[in-house]
Structures are given as structure tokens and as C-alpha cells.
């Protein structure tokens, strides 16, 4: 699997992932000498940063964190690379001072501790050579503050009976937005959809495979939907109500990615 990423600090590294699911502070979060993780909320307390690709959503806490990261690197106890969902100043500055390659705009919840990860900040990507990617598009259709979800039929290849949005496989070098438009026409019969937003891919991970979901938001002029064979029902719901449905993985995150 290879996903695009934005360069924050230059460089390239290949190292095993250490994934922290919550925002991280280098002040108090890690031992400044050994690089051992101290913060119990990280799921990786006791592990060491040294030589790992450290992935977490974003930094938090005291600005002294930049200097802590610098100090770790100088003692060779720092991570080999940093991957964030969205970079903020403390970690970004720390990575630059420390000379640690860093990227952001990566859905770190699609990474697992132990994954082999190549971070190439200069070329702008993150690659997981042992994970097979299944690239798909998901288009959230919006009409007057309601969004369309559809129940997948028993004839589709995956997630039968679950609620989803307009979606489809990406083929070859196809432009994701073009694919999204085609799927909208095929699955709903709606024409005149207006593109509103996209976001970094959401990674729905299932062991050694990962659905790399390119999310889109379109405004549509009508709620009249003509279903094709892929779906058996459609419903226009308030975005907050998505919690009440059994959906395909990460649909809620797809919605919030394009709505924020």
C-alpha cells in the first residue's frame, strides 16, 4: 500500500511502525533520555521510539516538546520517522530541528504497530510494502443538510447488507473524482452533482489488506434516487444519525473528513 503524504521535514526512512492512537506530547509522554514511552493512554507505554516510524494523530502539550525531540535524536533514542494525521507546530519544529523525516495528511489509524513502513518525505508518500491496497472512492451526496446512505445488496462482493454511501473500486490510474462522478450516475441516477470537497484517503484496515478510501462530498439537486443492483434501499439522513446504522468500515470518518 502506498498513500500520498505531505512533507513536513525532509528525508526518507524505512522502519517498523509504532502507532499511538491519541494525540501525543513529547513533554511527559516519553523519557527524554531513553525515548521510552511513558504516557499510559498511548497503547504503547514501555516501548521505545528508537528506530521506529512513530505514527500518531498530532502533537499536543508544551512547546518544549520540540527541544525534547531534538534531544532524543541527538542521543540516537529518537524515532526514525514521524507520521501524523495533521502536523502542528511543536512536533513539526521538533522534527526539523532533530533532522527526522516527517509527513502528515496520513490516516494513521490505518497503520498498525509492527507494520513495515517506508516514509519518503521528499517524494511525498508513505508505503507499507506488506499491506495490499484496495483503492476505492466514496461519495457523500448532500441535499439540504441530509446525506444519502444506501443498503448494499446481497449481490455485491463485500459488506453485504451493510449501509454505505455511493462507492466503487478505482481502476488503474483513473482519477478518483471522475470515478466518483460515474458511480453517482450509476448507483443513483442523479445528474448535476456539484463537487464540494475531498480529503486525504481514509484507510480501512483488515489485517494484510486495506481499503484506501478516497472521500468526496457532492451537493445534489434532488433526493430522487434510482437504485441499481448494488443497493436495495436508500435513505437521506442527518449526518449525526450515521451512528445508528451498521455501516461499512469507517463510513463515519469519511463523512467527517469531507465535512470539516
Amino acid at each position: 500500500m502506498k498513500v500520498p503524504a505531505r512533507r513536513i521535514a525532509p528525508g526518507r526512512a524505512s522502519a517498523t511502525a509504532l502507532v499511538c492512537p491519541v494525540p501525543f506530547s513529547f513533554v511527559g509522554g516519553a523519557d527524554p533520555v531513553t525515548g521510552k514511552i511513558l504516557d499510559q493512554d498511548t497503547n504503547c507505554a514501555g516501548k521505545r521510539l528508537r528506530g521506529r516510524t512513530f505514527a500518531f494523530p498530532h502533537g499536543k502539550g508544551s512547546t518544549v516538546g520540540s527541544y525534547v525531540l531534538y534531544g532524543l535524536a541527538k542521543r540516537r533514542s529518537g524515532p526514525a520517522a514521524i507520521v501524523n494525521a495533521h502536523a502542528e507546530t511543536i512536533v513539526a519544529v521538533g522534527a526539523i530541528l532533530a533532522g527526522i523525516p516527517m509527513v502528515d495528511r496520513v490516516d494513521v489509524s490505518g497503520l498498525r504497530t509492527g507494520d513495515r513502513v517506508v516514509v519518503d518525505a521528499d517524494a511525498g508518500f508513505v508505503e507499507l510494502p506488506d499491506v495490499r491496497a484496495i483503492p476505492v472512492v466514496t461519495a457523500i451526496l448532500r441535499n439540504e443538510r441530509r446525506i444519502l446512505i444506501m443498503r448494499r445488496s446481497r449481490r455485491v462482493g463485500s459488506f453485504r447488507g451493510r449501509w454505505s454511501a455511493v462507492s466503487g473500486y478505482l481502476e488503474g490510474d483513473e482519477d478518483p473524482r471522475d470515478r466518483a462522478r460515474r458511480e453517482i450516475r450509476e448507483e443513483t441516477g442523479i445528474t448535476g452533482a456539484i463537487f464540494r470537497a475531498t480529503a486525504s484517503p481514509i484507510i480501512a484496515r483488515d489485517r494484510a489488506t486495506a481499503y484506501v478510501v478516497h472521500p468526496f462530498l457532492f451537493d445534489v439537486p434532488t433526493r430522487r434516487v434510482r437504485l441499481d443492483w448494488e443497493n436495495v434501499a436508500g435513505r437521506w439522513i442527518r449526518p449525526a444519525d450515521i451512528e445508528k446504522y451498521v455501516t461499512v468500515p469507517r463510513l463515519k470518518d469519511v463523512v467527517s473528513a469531507v465535512k470539516s
Binding site: 518544549v64 527541544y67 531534538y70 534531544g71 507546530t89 513539526a92 519544529v93 526539523i96
Partner: protein, 387 residues
């Protein structure tokens, strides 16, 4: 980002410090949607107290100072103690030595050897529309709001990077759009003394990272110093407007903005909520450091109502030097006047547990940064209570 030829040269072929500084500025600029860097006329760098930045900070600054040199006039925030009086204060020698190393590193980079959170009171007063790169939230708020200069809320390292390059990413408060108010704050009670700090604390809590447009009161520059310091502590504000007073208030449009009101009851509630101590061990004045006028006023008050507990007064070195008479008066009454350091970045937790202060910013930070309980009140009331 669009870089000038000179900036490209620094990024590719500058000294190691210049390359690192440029990388920081470019990364922060790209993260924040800046199209270019804007030249600055001064920098103000936070992160000088050993208590705050610790060994990682000392290590970085000493390494950086080997070849980093500032390109514009640069001032530095207060240190962790007054290096001319640390023995009398009971500061551990190891702390003072590390602190001195930090000062030497900054001075080697070419920063002005005075450590102050009020650069605007020691002669650095950028004019209307002038771009600067300042960290230290109270100074940022004062520069933007009262002087009409332009700076984002820089962090310590980003302000240092801007000092090395002489420029900073052009976004946020550097742009006209970023200086528009986002909320109207109507103050419905008459303000004096401590009230300005209280208004700042309450408004900061309510507006978060918004940009408040205040109405309903007048204020001197000194009043706005205390209001801004508190506002920038409880909120993430880098600027405010005050109708009829601050230089950009007249051009600001407030039509359609949400309005919140702050009245006497709100101020009383804030004073209560920031007070969790019952018996003070020390009265501390600063945060931000006192001006000449403020120092002399305190000397008169202390002389009239001498306190029976220690009084620590924080000011800048130039102000302390210029007011020898006021300093003698305070010392005669058992107080100390400290320079180059300030209330919450100074080491005082080795001796005290409860601090009484009239500083809203102090009251906000003392519990977390110094492990202190706080009594927040007017200085007159505090001196009478502990006379």
C-alpha cells in the same frame, strides 16, 4: 511557497542554522497556507527559563548558538531567576549555572542581553502596520492590539528562526483578513485596577481563539497591558480591538458578529474562581514585568502599608536600573525587586506554596507551572490584608 532569491540561498547554501531556520519557516508557512515570508523588523523569543525548557532546551540552544546569528534586533523572554540575586533567593547553584548557560547562548546569537516579557516597555515599539515575529503571548497581544504592529503568536523556536532569517510566514495576523474581529464583547460595568485583568480572563475563556472587539469602557495603555496578558492566557487570542481606543478599531466591521456581555457579576465570579488559596506565603507582582510607573506606585504603597510576608516584584533590568529609589524603598520594607525574570517562569516553588497576586495571567499559570495555590486580588487589598 514563493521565496525570494535571498531566502532560497539561505535554504540551500546558508549556514546550518540558517538552513534549519528556513526549513522551520517554510514548513510552518506551508502548514498554515502562507504564500510567502514577510520581512520583520524585530523578533522576540520565548524559552529562556531553565525551569521551562530544561536540559533539552539548554542542549539545543548551545548547539544552535555555534553558528546561529540573529539578522534583526532580537529580545528574549524572562529567565528562571535573576542571575544577580539568585544566592539570596535560595536558588540551587546547578539551576543558576544552567540558567547562565542559556543566557550565554542567546547572547552569543546576538540577542539583546536583557530578559523581558515587555519588549514594548524597554524601547521596542513597532509602529502601525509594521511586521514583527514575537512569541510571548502578552507581548503579541500588546503589539497587535495597542501598537497596531503585526505578529502571529509565534512559538519560541519559530520566533528564533524568524530572528535568524529576518522574516516570518505571512498568514494570520500578518494579513488584513486575519485581523478582523470575530466576536463583540460588551462590558457593562465600570472598570478599575484589577478589573482589567478580570475582563481579560473572562473574555479569553469565552472567545477561545477568536478575535474580540470590546466595547463599553476606556482604558490606558497600562490597563490594556493587563487585560491583554490575561486574555492571551485564558484564551488563545493574539489580538483584540477596543472601540474608541485601539488603532484599528475604527476600520473593523462588527456587523453580524455574535455579541457576548461581561458584567460585574462575571468579574466577581472570575476573581473567586481563580482564588483557591486561603493564606498567602508571598505577594508577587509581575506577569507581565512592571513598568517604571508601576514599580514606583508599588514602592509608595509598600512604604505606606508594609507587609509582614515577603513581596517579590518582577521588572525588567532597564526599569530596575532606572528606579534605584523605588527599589531601595521596597527593599527597606522587606521586599525584593527581581529583574530579567518573571512570576511564573521563575523558580519560587522551592520556597512557597500560596501566592497572592493582582495578575490575571499569574493567577492563570501559577497553579500549573509553579504548583501554587493562588489568591487573586487588588494590590491595595492584599497589602492591607497582610500588613
Amino acid at each position: 511557497m514563493d521565496l525570494t532569491k535571498g531566502q532560497e540561498r539561505l535554504l540551500d547554501r546558508g549556514t546550518p542554522a540558517q538552513r534549519k531556520a528556513m526549513r522551520i519557516l517554510v514548513a510552518l508557512g506551508e502548514m498554515n497556507g502562507a504564500r510567502n515570508l514577510v520581512a520583520v523588523t524585530s523578533a522576540h523569543v520565548s524559552g529562556a527559563s531553565y525551569k521551562m525548557i530544561g536540559d533539552p532546551g539548554v542542549e539545543f540552544l548551545e548547539h544552535f548558538a555555534r553558528d546561529a546569528r540573529v539578522a534583526v534586533p532580537t529580545t528574549v523572554n524572562p529567565m528562571g531567576t535573576d542571575l544577580r540575586q539568585w544566592r539570596d533567593l535560595g536558588i540551587p547553584r546547578a539551576f543558576a549555572e544552567k540558567q547562565a548557560r542559556i543566557a550565554r547562548a542567546y547572547e552569543r546569537m546576538g540577542a539583546r542581553p536583557t530578559y523581558s516579557c515587555v519588549p514594548y516597555e524597554i524601547g521596542v515599539r513597532p509602529g502601525l502596520g509594521e511586521h514583527v515575529a514575537w512569541s510571548e503571548s502578552n507581548a503579541v497581544c500588546f503589539a497587535n492590539s495597542v501598537l497596531g504592529a503585526r505578529t502571529n503568536r509565534e512559538g519560541g523556536p519559530s520566533a528564533l528562526a524568524a530572528a535568524i532569517v529576518g522574516a516570518t510566514p505571512n498568514y494570520g495576523l500578518h494579513t488584513l483578513a486575519g485581523r478582523r474581529p470575530t466576536v463583540v464583547v460588551r462590558v457593562t460595568t465600570k472598570l478599575r485596577g484589577l478589573d482589567y485583568s478580570l475582563v481579560g480572563l473572562v473574555a479569553g475563556e469565552r472567545v477561545g481563539d477568536g478575535l474580540p472587539f470590546f466595547r463599553g469602557f476606556r482604558a490606558t495603555e497600562a490597563d490594556l497591558k493587563w487585560l491583554g496578558a490575561a486574555l492571551a492566557s485564558s484564551g488563545a487570542c493574539g489580538m483584540f480591538h477596543l472601540a474608541g481606543v485601539t488603532p484599528e478599531a475604527r476600520r473593523a466591521t462588527t456587523r453580524g458578529l455574535p455579541t457576548i456581555a461581561i458584567g460585574r457579576a462575571d468579574l466577581q465570579a472570575a476573581k473567586r474562581s481563580y482564588t483557591d488559596g486561603t493564606r498567602a506565603d508571598i505577594i508577587a507582582l509581575g506577569s507581565p514585568q512592571l513598568s517604571s510607573q508601576e514599580l514606583r506606585a508599588i514602592a509608595r504603597l509598600v512604604d505606606r502599608t508594609p507587609p509582614r510576608i515577603p513581596v517579590w516584584v518582577f521588572t525588567s533590568r532597564p526599569v530596575r536600573d532606572a528606579n534605584a529609589g523605588a527599589v531601595r524603598t521596597i527593599e527597606r520594607r522587606g521586599g525584593v525587586v527581581l529583574a530579567d525574570t518573571c512570576l511564573e517562569v521563575t523558580l519560587l516553588e522551592h520556597r512557597f506554596g500560596t501566592v497572592a497576586t493582582p495578575s490575571g495571567k499569574g493567577a492563570y499559570y501559577l497553579p500549573s507551572l509553579c504548583g501554587q495555590k493562588v489568591i487573586l486580588d487588588n494590590i491595595e487589598a492584599l497589602l492591607e490584608r497582610y500588613a
